[in-house]
Structure formats: C-alpha cells, structure tokens
Assembly symmetry: C2
Homo-oligomer: 446 residues x 2
C-alpha cells in the first residue's frame, strides 16, 4: 500500500513541529469541513469521496522512505520526525454520508483529535472531497436531466489519469450507470462499457468490413460507431453487418438531436427497431436536457463531467472551529478578519421536512462541544452526521464497492426529497435555507 | 511499481480483440496527438506531462492482477488476454519537448507501432497531456504576469490528490518557483514551501504567542500569517515576535493591493525593511497583473492554477492518421464526417522565425510517411520533434527531476521567442499561424 502521508502541504508538518515544541500539539481540537458557497447558480451540492478519504487515511503512514526524504530536505526537526514515525490517526470523524446533498455551511465532515493528528489531514481530506464532490454535483445534474435514460462516464482522457478513476466513481455515486474506465471498474466494482473508436474503422479498408469484424468479435449486441464517414451510409452498413438485432449505434459528432431522429427513422425502416442509439459528443446537463425529446437511448458524457461542468472544485475548507485551552475546556475559535470569516464551535446538522415530505431546511446546530457531539435530533429531523472513524477505527462499510453502492442509494434518496425546484438547471439560490441554531434551542431550552 | 495498464478505456481492449481476430492488429499505424483549438481567448498552449507519459509507459504492463480481473469480467477473450500478458510497447514516439509552446494543429506527439500496441496508449497519453498541459498553460500566464516575482503553487486542496502532484510539477515547468506539495517535492525534486495556517494562530491563546512559538521553532526567516484577527495588529505582533529581521508576512484575505501598501508602510515604519510580503488569496493571472504596482514580493496561487484558470483540460485528441494496407504501404486516414475532421497522414513540425528573431509561424509538414519520419528542416527552421521512445526504449532524460528542469528551460526559451503580443492576458487569436505544407515543398520540390 503506497503511503498517502506526503499528499500534504508542507505547512501542516511545520505547524506540528512548532506545536510539539510549545506543547499545544496535544490540545484536543475539532476541525470542520464546509463550503462558504455553492458554485455560481448551483442549487445543491453532493458530497462524494468519503470512502476514498477513509481508504487514504488507512495508508496515511510515514514510512522509512517518507521520513528519510523529510530528514534529507530538513522539512522538520528530529523530534517531529520521531512523532511522525509513530503517527496513526487516533481521533474520531463524523460526517455527512457519501452521496448526501448539501448547502453552504453544511458541516460536511468533523474531525476531532489532538491538534497535531487532525491538522495533518487537511490537504488530503480537502483534495479528495473537493474533487469528488465537484464531479458528483455535475453528474447529479446530468442524471437528473437524463431522467430514466442511462448516463455513461467516458471522460478519462480529459482528466488526470488517477482523477479520472475518482471521477468515474463519483459519477456512479450520482447516478451514472457505468464507465469506460477499466481501473475504476476494477477498483470499485463499477460496470464498464465501450466497444470501438473511429480508429477501428479507419484501420480497415472499408467501413462495412470494420463493422463485420467488430460484430464477429463482440457479437450482434455490440455498439457500432457510425459517423466516421457518412452517418446515413454508416447506419446502412451497420445493419448490413449486424442485422436487425444489432445492439446499438453510436453518434459522436454533428447535430445530435436532428441526427438521432433521422437515424431512428432509418433504423426502424431497416427493421432494426430494437437497435439503440447512443450519443457521445461534448454533452453536458444542458445538452442532455435538450435531447429529452430526441429518440436517444443513452448518453456518454466525457469532458464536461470530469471538469465539473464549469465548477471543477467545490471550495470546501478545513477549519479549526474548537480547541482545548490549558484546563482542557473546549473553546470555539474562528478567523475574524475582513473576509473569509467562519462560525466557530463544533456543529451538528439535520434536515428538516415540510408537510409535503420534502426537505425544507438544513438545521446546523452549535453549542457546548460535548452537547453537540452527543446530540441526537427529534423525530421530525433527519440527522446528517454518521460515524466514519471512531477512536482511530475506520468504518469500512463506507469504502470499496459497498461504499459506492450505499452512496448511490443515499444520493438518490436525498435528491428525491429536495424541493421540486432543486432539479432545475437554471441558475438559482441554494434549494433549502440554512437554519443556524443551537442544540439547546432545538431541545426547547433557553 | 503499480501497473498503469488499466488506466485505459475499455474500448481500446475490445478493439485489440477484434483486430487480433481479423489480422489488422499488426498493421503498422501512426497516431497523432493534437488539439483542434486553444481554450477560448488563449494565445498559446504549453505542452506538459511528457516525462510523466514516459514514466507511465514504463509501468504499462498487464500483470496477473490485471489479467485476472479482465478475465473475470470477460472484458476480452483468451487470445487477447495472452497478447496483453506479453504487451510491451515496442514502437517509436517523437513529440514536442516538454515545456514547448504550441498552437492548434501542432503535432504534439506522434506514436508509431502496430495498431494494437499504439491504440492501447490513447487514454493514458491523453489523460496526462491534457491535464498537465492545462495547468502549465495557466501557470505560464501567471508567471508571465508576475514578471520577476516568484509564484508559488499551493493548490493541492482544490485538486484530486494525485492530480495535485502533477499540477505542482506542471506549474514548475511553466516557471513557478516552488510548491507546498510535499509529494511533488519528493517525486520531482521540486523546492517545497510553507510555514503555518490560521489554525496555528487559533490553536494558541493569543496571536503574539503563536508567532513567538513559530519563530522559536522555524527561525526568524519564517513567514508569519498576519490576517487571522486584524492585519495591523498582526503585523505589529509579527515584528514584535520575529524582530526586524523577520522573513515575511503573509496576507490571505481582503483587498490585497491596498493591504500590501499599508503593510509595507507599517513594516518599513517598524524598521522591518527586508521583511517580505507574500499574498495568497484566490489569485489568478489577472489578479497577479493587477498587483504589479503593489509592494508584493511573491504570489501563492491555488485554486485557479490547479483548475487551469478557467480551462481545466486542453481538448487534445489521439487520432489514427496513417496505417499500412495489406501490402505494407502506409495510407493516410482521417475521419471525414460533418464535424471534428482531422488532417490525415503523418506530420512533422518546425518553428519559423521572423527577422526580429521571434517566432512567425508553426510549420506543419506532411507527405509520404517515410519522408516525413526522416525529415530534418533547414537552418532557418527550428525542428520541434524530439525522440522520446525509440523501438520501445524510453529516453529517460525527459523523466524525473532532470526532465522537469529541461522542460522549465525549454518553456522559458520557447515563450521568450514568441511574438510580443503572445503574453497579453486579454483574449486573442493563437499568437502564430499554422502553415500547413509538405516536406517536398519545404525542400523546394514540386
């Protein structure tokens, strides 16, 4: 298992060094992950990456190779190196379940431990959650626009090679049916798809020969790419090669709405009534919505998915919100200068519902640290925090293929209960307001 | 070494299967990487990631684990599995040197081999080049805007954790002075930077105590973050803690231009004339340019760098441009339908210069496959293709820390010779035109 410990900004290690020297490193601390706003016009966010955070945490170890490099580069002093050598996160992490929808201010993850053990995780936690959630948010809009038609992830070539694997995973969390990415299939048990590119047709001396060869190798259920030369002739040759039982044809260029109507008519005329039409050219949620009336059977989405459809990151931050003083009493803390202010103190969260059964508010409750940590909301509120790590023990239910399945279920349920307007693609405000309150007030205490 | 072989779209493997079955898999083939356009308004592109492509190629092996998964999932048949088990890329790759500037149509990389051995690399090559080049292009505009002031990469938290490492590397290729990312430092020998976050100040009972502790641990050369509470008081406390020899103060919020002037005046008034000012809040090339007259010493750039400053990918494609027919004669090929057309045939490239010594055109020369492969341009043209892999042997000069250093040198030289207008940040056309010609015409033959 490769160490994830250096996927970290240098300042986290230098802060640990200084805090070890002055004794504050061991102060109990609470860090919160939240976002100050959604990308412009977005109505909800989608938390994704939790399972990957837990996997990365399991490999967050400073081994000999990492320590030797830190020593050679004099990044930190010997005392700090010794402390890092023994590092195991022994704290507790709660957070929104992966797949959950969120709004600005939602306390998406709460990391509690000593200052030193918790501060070290800042970069890694944010890298994963910011990227995966950006993809999931875009994917959710796409699957929403596609209604019941499957969306297929094909964006690997337009993203960093490992980011592509995470993007495929996040897309499936937000309702995609499969991915072209083999590593994502292997790592997370996702269905993989794909048959041939234009290169395959160009490799052959003529198009029908390429189609016959593909059908001979992959069976009549395959998908033939029909737009290398001329779509009309391509469809003709596809049915000639695959017969009326051909699985699908794929269109990867041109005016897809118009082409799909023509191709459907042509396929039906040739008797290939069950042959499906897959479209794949520069789609995003708006293009998908505009194809709603076209006779398209599934959407392959690439570039716009893996780049977050205009919002390639989420702006989540990892902020110290409370820490112990010398007596061990937890004190809320927050940056207080001109901009980028935060609300200090530990928060928990629950979703409130209206009489129609749909979400009506994000309840974010503060108060004394121990009260918030122990809070469980009333029956009319759905608690949003689930335990992820307890005293260093990772709950592996949220990782691997099971984690992705649970996250996809959570996302579907969470999105279904948002107000109806939440799924509109036009720019708007967050779909539910954030209600800032305290645990005491929620319990009817003053 | 982890295998990179499954960082691949499924259709590449299914194409290999079908081509092995019909005998076309072994046809000599030439694939070209190019981009049809630059991101809207950009005047030049920057090729980055070549060294990473070569590293990834070295690990592109189907080991037992990969083969077992492909077999279990029935991705390909037994013949294909056997072929994959023996897979080693034995072809030849030439391309623009990493760091080189480019324009639309530049043949950035040319991969030659059998169809099967070359088609397999499509996704991995594009993932790396599209991401790394997007970051390098944004970084180049930033370092250009910063003129002689150092730019520092701090964006890990806003990018996928491994993409962040690649982004730091690409930023350094395009002139950044260092990165906060420790893994990038370790893997590519990059300078790493960073001292403390707001959390460090908030951990302590008061700001001056935090500063004193940091100076005690890291020395007076450290950078103190002065905007946790009130910048004016922060600067006062910083000099009180670090003395007039304090290395730097960092501003991470507010109106940085105005603040920098006030802080410079205050530092000078306190006698801390050599204490530098680092600014780090949501910078991009435009913000950097607008700070040109402010007394700022260096720029820390995060989100906008790692998301490509509005262009998170490059749209590079990997297209079959020529392949052998049954006689072994190379035939140019190209998609010919309504949109997304390509120019068939192998191309080479060179840069033409004007009388002022600056680049005046991108000369892209086609012709018979063997002529283009053997072409060397006249003295007034600078050839752009360098050998990267010869008959399967990787030229490791382009990888590791050496590769990054060479790429940074290439980028500086290449950018310096572009027309003066190339460095304007406003939207514009590609800085030099693409001159499509043939090797014969360049040699004065008809």
């Amino acid at each position: 298992m490769t160490s994830t410990a250096l996927l970290t900004d240098r300042y986290e290690l230098t802060m640990v060094q200084a805090a070890l020297a002055d004794g504050t490193a061991h102060r109990r601390s609470v860090f919160e992950v939240f976002t100050r706003s959604l990308p412009a016009g977005r109505r909800y966010g989608v938390l994704a990456g939790t399972g990957r955070v837990l996997d990365a945490l399991a490999s967050f170890r400073f081994g000999d190779a990492e320590l030797a490099w830190l020593e050679a580069e004099r990044v930190v002093d010997d005392r700090t190196l010794a402390w890092l050598a023994d590092y195991r996160f022994g704290g507790t992490i709660v957070g929104y379940a992966e797949g959950e929808t969120y709004v600005p201010g939602s306390p998406l993850m709460v990391v509690e431990g000593t200052f030193a053990e918790a501060v070290l995780l800042e970069t890694l936690v944010l890298s994963i959650l910011n990227f995966d959630s950006a993809i999931a948010a875009a994917a959710s809009r796409m699957t929403s626009a596609a209604v019941d038609r499957p969306c297929l992830e094909m964006g690997a070539r337009r993203a960093h090679e490992e980011a592509a694997v995470a993007a495929a995973r996040a897309a499936v969390v937000a309702g995609f049916a499969g991915t072209s990415n083999l590593e994502a299939g292997r790592r997370y048990g996702l269905p993989t798809i794909g048959t041939a590119a234009h290169a395959y047709t160009l490799l052959h001396d003529d198009e029908e020969e390429a189609f016959r060869s593909q059908v001979a190798s992959m069976g009549t259920g395959t998908t033939l790419l029909v737009d290398t030369y001329d779509v009309r002739r391509g469809v003709q040759r596809a049915v000639a090669a695959g017969g009326t039982g051909l699985g699908a044809v794929r269109l990867d260029s041109g005016d897809l709405g118009v082409l799909a109507i023509e191709v459907r008519r042509q396929l039906d005329g040739l008797g290939a009534r069950d042959t499906q039409i897959v479209v794949t050219s520069d789609l995003d949620e708006h293009a998908i919505a505009s194809l709603a009336v076209a006779p398209v059977d599934s959407y392959g989405v690439g570039t716009r998915l893996v780049t977050g459809s205009g919002a390639p990151t989420c702006g989540m931050v990892y902020k110290l919100v409370a820490r112990a003083d010398d007596d061990g009493t937890m004190q809320p803390v927050a940056k207080a200068s001109t901009s980028k202010t935060s609300v200090g103190g530990r928060k928990s969260a629950a979703r409130r519902y209206g009489p129609d059964g749909r979400a009506s508010a994000e309840v974010v409750a503060g108060g004394p640290d121990d009260e918030v940590a122990a809070w469980s909301p009333d029956d009319d509120l759905r608690p949003l925090h689930v335990p992820l790590v307890v005293d260093g023990a990772i709950d592996h239910r949220w990782t691997g293929a099971t984690g992705v399945r649970l996250a996809a279920e959570r996302h579907r349920a969470s999105r279904d209960e948002l107000p109806r307007g939440a799924r509109r693609l036009s720019a708007g405000e967050p779909t539910i307001p954030t209600e800032r309150t305290t645990v005491a007030r929620l319990a009817g205490r003053p």
